[in-house]
Symmetry: C2
Subunit: 241 residues, 2 copies
Amino acid sequence: MSGGKHLAKGSTKPILPDDGVLRIYSMRFCPYAQRAHLVLSVKQVPHHSIYINLTEKPEWLVEVSPLTKVPALELVSEPGQPTLIESLIIAEYLDEKYPQNPLLPKDPLRRALDKILIERFGAVTGAYAKIVFSDAGTDDLWQALDIFEAELAKRGTQYFGGDKPGFVDYMIWPWFERLPVLKFLVKENYDLDEKRFVKLSKWIALLIDDAAVKSFYVTPEQHIEFWRTRKAGKANYDLLA
Amino acid sequence: MSGGKHLAKGSTKPILPDDGVLRIYSMRFCPYAQRAHLVLSVKQVPHHSIYINLTEKPEWLVEVSPLTKVPALELVSEPGQPTLIESLIIAEYLDEKYPQNPLLPKDPLRRALDKILIERFGAVTGAYAKIVFSDAGTDDLWQALDIFEAELAKRGTQYFGGDKPGFVDYMIWPWFERLPVLKFLVKENYDLDEKRFVKLSKWIALLIDDAAVKSFYVTPEQHIEFWRTRKAGKANYDLLA
């Protein structure tokens, strides 16, 4: 509803139709926001996307997202029009509320094991952040990814979700889409070692072809360009708008 | 199965009966482990408690909890005897697996709102940790607790869970049980201001009388004594054993 443009300080709160349709407050290059978009896409839930300039946040954002976080999902058809935050909570809410194309397993143990795996992915996102924000090396990243290579082998399936992508696949995908950014940021060879990560390499190739992933996909060149502007202190949020 | 004593480096892995009963690896004064114990108590799920000396962890702990974390819940009757970690994941697993005395609401929105509230409790646990580990002041703690005072008012119930304690109540309780520790650690007046926190003060009084809370309760004097030994570099894990 902002034409893909990111609304900034001084902007007017967008006036949306009173149509009861979900509103997602997002940033086009945010991996956490992408999690919510992926689930909305898998579930084919109609929604309005409102993109936010995170460097200069609009004054009105606090009205819909009290901690001014994105992603934030505004449930305009619920009493009191509550807003949900935290990407994993939003994703699980959507999975429970919209039963079509279920993502998390129904079995409590399998649900718990999937959630633990996503929790352990924190080591990947942490290592990734240290590379891009603190110029750390890539060793910790590859070590953290070893867990996921081993898990695919243990599960014996193409996807973490089985014969199609599930909750784990979509929750971790955004960081794999951004791996090429490392080529721009890190001097050493950034590439995922296809021998060390045989199964993950195949998994990446499959995910790139997934319909939901495609619906929100950003090319390596675009990710790198966004990072170039961000590192230069002038993040070009509207690169794709 | 360790008589309440905390097993340390050099200990033998306890030999437990082949009875299919859940095994919880825990530390008697750990607020995160307490979350799991509270849910086990509410659900009246039989379990063996194995207490771990976190300063000198047993070499065998890695076999049951690969990251040597507690709490860890070993599901000995499941194929492969998997172990669950992360207190909230363990608690939600138990709530789903053992439907008696349900804790989380069934409604996806109410579940999500409860999970966001627990996520926001991170500001309380963070402020608490800064006080006890870094001698920070108490201002951030009280500010973080304002959210919870307001939330009880908004919900209009005695408990976060309604007319009896629910998931939120038990997940946040351990830090309220430990508030008196601040009296020992902080020079300024540590007490919860009963005027600022009218509803939380009543809630604390109610929770202390709750059967599940009582089953794992540690008195202020005992918490303070544990902290005294911990601050002195010789944590007395077996204070209650």
